[in-house]
């Protein structure tokens, strides 16, 4: 619902506490669930602060239109889209220029992690739907898309985790939300593959000196590593839930035998 949310006078106070109570290098609370949609080959859902983002994968599957087929690998196609009700002012459902650009950079962030060469002439279709947005959606989108790909059983080199870092009111911070992002300073979204120790997405708007940028980059990668742990926990949770259900059935069978 529309709030008369007035922008707080200062986003960070003298004690270096952010307006939502977080420390400078603290991420918003994150909740992740893997395998949430029945029809998709793979899916995952994330809540990060007020962000609510769903990702689904279909594929590898036959590619239509055929002329998009690549002879030596699968074509990864990605659609990042925001629901009209995801933002304060209703957004038109038609894809905006921003959504086009983000679809491209997100695809380029995930492609290095997939063994696309195993499935030539097919398509791997990835859909990211932002149900509610509060800054950092492309990073949360990449995080959850990578899990959806894993959930679909698509062979990957690594999971891709993503997090933004930046500068607000002269202090370097991690995981900017919408208000922080829109203010003066800098916002640097980063996507990272921890096994390979490489960056797959890097963008920036704002202003930083080279020294500040180096600090922000390192801070962002640290944040990515935290996200990576949460991704692994979410995958393990899906397994153990399956295994616990099995164990329960075995116990019941044992009981019935007695």
């Amino acid at each position: 619902m529309k709030t008369s949310q007035k922008k707080p006078e200062k986003l960070i106070d003298e004690k270096d506490i952010r307006y939502d109570g977080r420390k400078l290098n603290e991420m918003r609370p994150v909740k992740i669930e893997v395998g949430v949609l029945a029809n998709a080959d793979g899916s995952a859902y994330i809540e990060q602060g007020k962000n609510r983002i769903l990702a689904a994968v279909y594929g590898p599957r036959e590619i239509h239109p055929k002329h998009q087929a690549l002879p030596d690998r699968a074509a990864l196609r990605c659609r990042y889209h925001m629901a009209p009700f995801s933002v304060q002012e209703r957004k038109s459902p038609a894809p905006s220029r921003r959504e086009h650009e983000l679809s491209k950079v997100i695809r380029e962030a995930l492609e290095p992690s997939i063994f696309t060469e195993y499935y030539p002439r097919t398509a791997i279709d990835l859909f990211i739907e932002v149900l509610q947005a509060d800054g950092g959606t492309r990073c949360a989108g990449i995080t959850v898309a990578s899990l959806a790909l894993a959930d679909a059983g698509i062979p990957m080199r690594d999971l891709v985790c993503a997090c933004a870092a930046g500068k607000v009111e002269d202090r370097l911070i991690l995981d900017l939300d919408d208000l922080e992002d829109k203010s003066e300073g800098a916002d640097v979204p980063i996507a990272y593959m921890p096994n390979m120790d490489v960056v797959t997405l890097l963008q920036m708007d704002g202003m930083l000196t080279n020294e500040e940028f180096e600090q922000v980059l390192n801070m962002g990668i640290e944040g990515c590593r935290q996200i990576s742990q949460l991704q692994r926990d979410a995958l393990k949770a899906k397994y153990t839930a399956a295994k616990e259900a099995e164990a329960e059935k075995e116990d019941e069978a044992e009981e019935a035998k007695k």
């Binding site: 220029r97 921003r98 086009h100 650009e101 679809s103 491209k104 950079v105 380029e108 492609e111 290095p112 640097v188 593959m193 390979m196 120790d197 490489v198 960056v199 797959t200 997405l201 890097l202 963008q203 920036m204 708007d205 704002g206 202003m207 930083l208 000196t209 080279n210 940028f213 180096e214 980059l217 390192n218 990668i221």
Partner: protein, 265 residues
């Protein structure tokens, strides 16, 4: 960026040469191709410039119109950047609505100008909340031979430096154009520098064949005081942190060199 499939053999050859420190056109790893800049070719535009970066050719026209400000910034003028990969520029460009490549190009050029606050939009207000100047920067690619981002950003800056605003007065709520011009006030001179990674080797200003052989590219836009104001990684490959920081160092020097070509003191 394009879908021209350079033969794999050629791409391999280029990668091999680069690994031994040489580029297929004889350049050093950190050298730009020859650059030619011409301003003011399109009289009907308020500002214009054409950049030739090697064989890549980009024409930018600036038009200034009167419009309404955005609701959340009632006291600021508007900047809008658009790019067209015109079909005559390459056998791989098709006519039609802007594709993701032209959208990315426009937004990266826009980011450089906007984040460096090159155009003081506060000075473009005619009637607060009602009438402002809208600066249209239209990037028109005429020949694609690699590194459209740097060529377009350079042409956009040259075109803005060339832009003249008409004098005006507001009479009975109407804007009346008066004789005479004044240059568009610019507060910053952002320069985009694109590096590419091929076979773990970093080069600057990739031309078409190098773009087809590269793993990934990283563009950094530097404003006049040396701060980074925009960044964009592109391509399906990756960068290590070391490579990113190395690029940030090289880019500082290149930005100064390129800026000298456009901004005459």
């Amino acid at each position: 960026m394009s879908s021209i499939m350079a033969t794999k053999v050629r791409a391999k050859r280029i990668a091999q040469m680069i690994a031994s420190g040489k580029r297929s056109d004889g350049r050093g790893l950190n050298d730009y191709r020859e650059i030619q800049i011409e301003s003011g070719l399109i009289e009907r535009a308020e500002g214009s410039a054409r950049v030739r970066l090697g064989k890549t050719e980009v024409l930018v026209g600036v038009k200034i119109e009167i419009g309404e400000p955005f609701p959340d910034t009632p006291n600021e003028g508007v900047l809008t950047v658009n790019a067209e990969l015109v079909p005559l520029a390459s056998p791989t460009f098709e006519a039609g609505p802007p594709d993701e490549n032209s959208i990315e190009l426009a937004r990266v050029v826009d980011r450089g100008i906007r984040e460096s606050k090159a155009i003081p939009t506060g000075d473009l207000v005619i009637e607060p909340g009602k009438k402002v100047f809208v600066v249209f920067v239209d990037v028109y690619v005429l020949n694609y031979d690699g590194n459209l981002i740097d060529a377009s950003a350079l042409a956009a800056l040259a075109a803005l430096l060339n832009t003249k605003m008409f004098n005006y007065e507001v009479k009975e709520g109407e804007v009346k154009i008066k004789p005479g011009y004044k240059p568009l006030p610019l507060a910053n001179y952002p320069i985009a520098v694109t590096s590419a990674k091929i076979n773990d080797q970093l080069i600057v200003d990739p031309w078409l064949e190098e773009e087809q052989a590269m793993d990934a590219r990283l563009t950094m836009t530097i404003e006049k005081d040396g701060k980074i104001c925009a960044m964009q990684k592109g391509g399906y490959g990756t960068f290590t942190t070391q490579q990113i920081l190395e690029i940030a160092k090289i880019v500082q020097q290149k930005a100064v060199e390129l800026r000298k070509l456009v901004v005459k003191e």
